[in-house]
Symmetry: C2
Subunit: 213 residues, 2 copies
């Protein structure tokens, strides 16, 4: 397909596509004349992914390039590619490791992972930005006086484990490795707001059922 | 307790507490001398809630005041107070209702609520910011070419319904109505990042188990 059709199918304006091409977020098309190039479905897929990162995930262009490098690195297995891509996303600032609230929160999260039998997460531990973010949030909650120990976290963790298993099952519907990793990253970025809104709507629903208006 | 103790127990600096008092986010203490006031546990609880709204939820001061007004409005039942408080939180911008992607996404979300039997949410519908946010996100996903219909949403909705039921159960542990509504709002703001991080960690865990590193 030509650039105009790529723009039409993706809903991304032509100048934006040209910008992504210049920034190497999109591989060049196959040149057919001096001024025209031909694009295929892989360009359309990649374009949608880049758009999701930048428009929905608010990822800066330089970061998007790092995410794509991890997605495309076929010297790595899927978990490392996925990890590399997710870990390249903008992360919350580091908390000082010697803060007493952080030390307490680390113990809570480690005990949680132990109880759940999430051994990989426990072993990767502080290398993972998700782990560090969770520790920082648990520290903030406890600092504010909202009790958040292993007992409070465990039921939420079990529900989110069901969600994650469903996420991983869905990956099998994508053909290649790069497509699977791309879909997983898009799933993280794009499905997160969906989950939060569904929870709020379900709270409204169940609050009304239980307590009336 | 005196101001210094309130600051120590809450971890909120004295100048910040004085600012919250001036802005009427915190009710005044009981005056004991011309220069000193006495505060109690209700001040500590409210201070923690205000801190959670502003520091974690990044809610502007004027908005925090509206949230508190809804929490404290005892002419309303719990669901309306909770709704009023949640609806006062910063919301995503409105999408034009005549956009074809929004019309399609509205139909998808309405069918989902119907299938789930979430009748209150269906009846309140477009009045609810959570409903409108969900519609806007579903529209974006589909516009980007990530299929997001009722079939894709339903499993996530059922998992989040379990989370919401657990949220509502936890409310019974708080004594008064204002405390229950406060805890529910704090739960929404503070537990959301916890849920998202738990999902990411569980994905890392299950990706490794299923596919290796």
């Amino acid at each position: 397909m030509r650039l105009a059709e790529l723009s039409e199918l993706s809903g991304v304006p032509i100048p934006t596509i040209k910008y992504y091409l210049r920034e190497q977020l999109l591989p060049p098309g196959r040149r057919v004349t001096a001024t025209q190039a031909e694009y295929d479905d892989s360009h359309l897929r990649r374009l949608r992914f880049v758009r999701a990162l930048i428009q929905v995930g608010r990822v800066p262009v330089a970061t998007a390039r790092e995410v794509l490098a991890a997605v495309d690195d076929d010297s790595l297995g899927r978990t490392f590619r996925l990890g590399g891509a997710l870990w390249a996303l903008p992360q919350p600032p580091e908390e000082p490791a010697d803060d007493p609230d952080i030390i307490k929160a680390t113990a809570i999260v480690d005990q949680l992972l132990e109880e759940l039998g999430w051994t990989t997460s426990r072993d990767v531990g502080s290398l993972s930005p998700s782990y560090r973010s969770l520790v920082a949030t648990v520290a903030t909650l406890n600092r504010l006086g909202y009790t958040c120990g292993t007992a409070e976290l465990a039921p939420y963790a079990r529900h989110m484990e069901r969600v994650a298993e469903h996420d991983i099952d869905r990956l099998d519907t994508f053909p290649g490795e790069a497509e699977k990793v791309e879909a997983a990253v898009a799933g993280v970025i794009l499905v997160e707001p969906v989950l939060l809104m569904l929870r709020r709507i379900a709270q409204e629903e169940h609050s009304t059922r239980r307590f009336g208006l």
